[in-house]
Subunit: 188 residues, 2 copies
């Protein structure tokens, strides 16, 4: 970000690493974002990552903790799905939501951020499940969350052109209409 000659500044270095890690984890997922790539994007020596965060796992946990909290703020439950879809379709994979989806994707993997990941998933499910009176509201909410995860996955796929180039409004309308059969109080 800052193109200046960079003074020695541990706080700025730490912040640059956190920034670079956030975008790279969102773009490539935990395993494909190497510590060297992250340090390179931050414009910082690779050893500093360990000095300031201890381990790659701990850095991931910091990223998830930092971005995670913002995910659910700003949108009411009724507008949550719409908000997530818009951010996903318009801003692409360098995106806090995408971070959660790549995290949910590597479900079985057991790293330091596993707890935060599950918690964020729970937060989404809890918010969405308030949108129905059905007895199986949680299941309905998880199915909707699964849909967003899947759309996020396919969009990252190189070859699924139709979805990748589709008009945002069109996709939002199709998904909201279908999801409304599961969660009747979705606002449109």
């Amino acid at each position: 970000m800052t193109a200046e000659p960079r003074r020695r500044d541990s706080a700025a270095t730490r912040a640059a690493l956190l920034d670079a890690a956030t975008s790279l984890f969102a773009e490539r997922g935990f395993e494909h974002a190497t510590v060297r790539d992250i340090a390179a994007r931050a414009g910082v020596n690779q050893a500093l990552l360990f000095r300031y965060f201890g381990s790659k796992d701990a850095l991931y946990a910091s990223v998830m903790a930092g971005q995670g909290r913002e995910l659910l703020e700003g949108d009411s439950a009724g507008r949550l799905l719409e908000g997530v879809l818009r951010r996903l379709l318009e801003k692409g994979p360098r995106q806090a939501d995408h971070l959660l989806f790549t995290a949910l994707q590597s479900g079985g993997v057991d790293n330091a951020a596993a707890g935060i990941r599950e918690e964020l998933g729970d937060d989404y499910v809890r918010a969405l499940s308030t949108l129905t009176d059905a007895g199986n509201g949680e299941l309905r909410a998880e199915l909707v969350l699964g849909w967003v995860v899947g759309i996020s996955m396919l969009r990252a796929s190189a070859h699924r052109d139709v979805l990748r180039t589709a008009d945002t409004e069109e996709v939002v309308r199709l998904v909201l209409d279908a999801a409304a059969t599961l969660l009747e109080r979705i606002e449109r």
Copy 2:
């Protein structure tokens, strides 16, 4: 599978490797299934994998080619989504469909099976898109495919209990009803 003392038999060894690779790739995805794990599950020395398939990539391509063709057979287009969901929910991750979904997941990754993966995705989309007369039928079909991919991902996640333990009939009904707003000729 065969618990016999195993005679020397290159065809049987090859088949055992292919079997083990199919299930391990489906369970863990391409990268998390190591050649040592595959050879171990096949009960075979690890070097034989390279003798019979050349590389891990080539083995993956063989697996995808072998299982892929079966995916779309057996179900009519109208019953395709239901069939996929049932297999996914009942049989769990050791499953041909799951193989495709873990493949679609690692969209960007460029390995020997990338072509086969895209082709299989196209086959699903083509079949599903026949179920609507809407002008954006392909987009609708990709969204439905994305849903199945996402459900498959979340089910693999350790913590999403509601979805993992849900009754198959209940999930099938919820998803088919919602998907019917996208593809009107889905049979239920």
